[in-house]
Amino acid sequence: MSPRNRSQIAARRQPRSRIFAALGDETRLALVAKLCSGQPRSISQLTNSQLTNSRLTKGSRLTRQAITKHLRVLESAGIVHGVRSGRESRFQFDPQPMAGIKEYLDHVSAQWDQALSRLKSFVED
């Protein structure tokens, strides 16, 4: 494996583990799912829309406070951004961090291609 690519991409993937951690929760995934389908939504909208989404929250409705907490985690990973709209905050999905993960996987994948082709020459010669 060539460490070069691994290190080049490393510079741009600072919050990667945070992104993965932020996505490793059912409620937050449900929030991301809701937000990535379009327009920014307020905390009230996200709290109220749980009714249509009950299996994602295991039937128990989360409080506004709990939703806010999850949104903050997503925000700190850069997956959503808060935008002021009048008196309330709305949250907007940002595809960039997830695109970053994809890019990292692509690089690791390319390095395996190189390493395996060296293995191939090694055992076939």
Binding site: M1, S2, P3, R4, R6, S7, A10, A11, R13, Q14, S17, F20, A21, L23, G24, E26, L29, A30, V32, A33, K34, L35, C36, S37, G38, N53, R55, L56, P95, M98, A99, I101, K102, Y104, L105, D106, V108, S109, A110, W112, D113, A115, L116, R118, L119, K120, S121, F122, V123, E124
Partner: protein
């Protein structure tokens, strides 16, 4: 989300030959470009130094998981933030790790090697994600794009 890499490669060499290239630490070091301190032993840490030109300062460290002769060789290894000189870590113990598995199968012309690297995220279950795929159009779309991209570059 697709959190694993899978590679399949046909090798025109007997399974026993490929097994040796993978698990003999000197042979592994030759094609992988690392100088390992000692043999691979399941449950033990394998240490060494990269020999890849320009990256000789990078430490190799992995924990050998399974060695099932001529079938499966696996280890976990860290994905530290950086390998650049001055930024490369000496201590990997707190870095996130992934699982690397090499599986071998005998074929008519030699050996099929299946490599997987998994655990890039800590989402506990793929099945959980299935639920979201069914429920949410937007999420499905996003995940599809990512998966497509990853799988188009095998």
């Amino acid at each position: 989300m697709d959190n694993r890499i899978e590679k399949r490669i046909e090798l025109k060499a007997p399974v026993s030959r490929v097994w040796r290239a993978l698990t003999d630490h000197r042979e592994f070091g030759e094609w992988f470009r690392v100088r390992l301190d000692g043999p691979f032993v399941p449950g033990q840490i394998s240490r060494g130094q990269m020999t890849y030109p320009g990256y000789e300062h990078v430490k190799w460290e992995a924990v050998v998981q399974k060695m099932e002769p001529e079938r499966l060789f696996s280890f976990t290894w860290p994905h530290p933030k950086s390998f650049e000189k001055g930024e490369a870590l000496q201590d990997y113990s707190k870095e996130p790790t992934t699982l690397v598995e090499f599986r071998l199968e005998k074929t008519a012309s030699g050996t099929l090697l299946v490599l997987t690297e998994s655990g890039f995220d800590n989402i506990p279950s793929d099945r959980r994600l299935e639920a979201f795929r069914r429920n949410e159009g937007g999420w499905t779309e996003q995940m599809k794009n990512i998966e497509k991209h990853v799988s188009q570059k095998p």
